[in-house]
Each structure stands twice: as C-alpha cells, then as structure tokens.
Subunit: 89 residues, 2 copies
Amino acid sequence: MGRVVVDVMPKPEILDPQGKAVAAALPRLGFSGFTGVRQGKRFELEVDGPVTDEVLDQVRRAAETLLSNPVIEDVVRVAAAEEHDGATA
Amino acid sequence: MGRVVVDVMPKPEILDPQGKAVAAALPRLGFSGFTGVRQGKRFELEVDGPVTDEVLDQVRRAAETLLSNPVIEDVVRVAAAEEHDGATA
C-alpha cells in the first residue's frame, strides 16, 4: 500500500484570510520573526498497490480537477510519501 | 528570506469528512485504485532571515499550539522548504 501526497496552496495574488489570521496571532503568542503565513491543503491518498508513474499521472490529473480550484490555487507538489512525510499515526 | 513548511493531518482515529468526500468522488470522476484519502493542512511561514535551528524550534512550538489542535490533529512535518516544496508562484 503506497501513499501519495498532494500539496495545494492559494495562489500568491489571492487573499488568504486564514494565513493572515495565523500571521497576526504569532506575535501575540510570543513568536517573532515571521513576515507572512499562507495556509493551504495537504491530501494523503492511499493507493491499492505500489506508487507507479501511472498512479502519479492519475493523481496529478485528480489534483488539477478535484483537489484544487485552478482559478485560486496551485498544486505545488504531487509525490510519493517520503519518510519525513511520516505516517499520521 | 527563508520559508518553513508545517504539515498537519487529522489523527487516524478521527473521522475526516472532507477526506471521505474526496475518496467518494475519485471513482465517480474515473480515478480508480485509491483506498482512502485524508485531508489536512499545510502552512508556509515566511521567515525574516535564514531558517536556523532556533527558528525551527519556534515553529515547532507554534505548530503544536497555534497551527494544530493536538486533540484531533498531528503535526506530521516541520521543515525548511525544499526545492520540491516549490514557490507558490
């Protein structure tokens, strides 16, 4: 059972109110030195079998059509889960 | 200007309705072979300077207190942005 990770972020020119809220909260909680925060989405897709090039192609198409809204979001990464992507367990 | 990426995912035992909705939509759109989807959050924090160990420590604390709800979510990754994490541009 493989796993594919898809990262989706709001386009730079799109207002990101959740990111702005986090950025405003950081200094109030004592975290300094940050100039901006953007909040996006991360998907983990469990694959029934190994992560082949065909699977990655399929995930790339799903990422552009179902997992992201191409008007306001960019798919910034589609990749087989690496060690540092960790299990969520 | 460095950038730190924080990935937050729902804990495995927590119901994830958004992930379930995506998993149900995939076969309807012709994408087969996926056995499950989990949807989490990805944050990109812009740092005013290089990404030092102190910065990463600070981000780790922010991730546990502000960016995630430790009751229902796990912080699965805190790392300086790599090349494949791409710019959102």
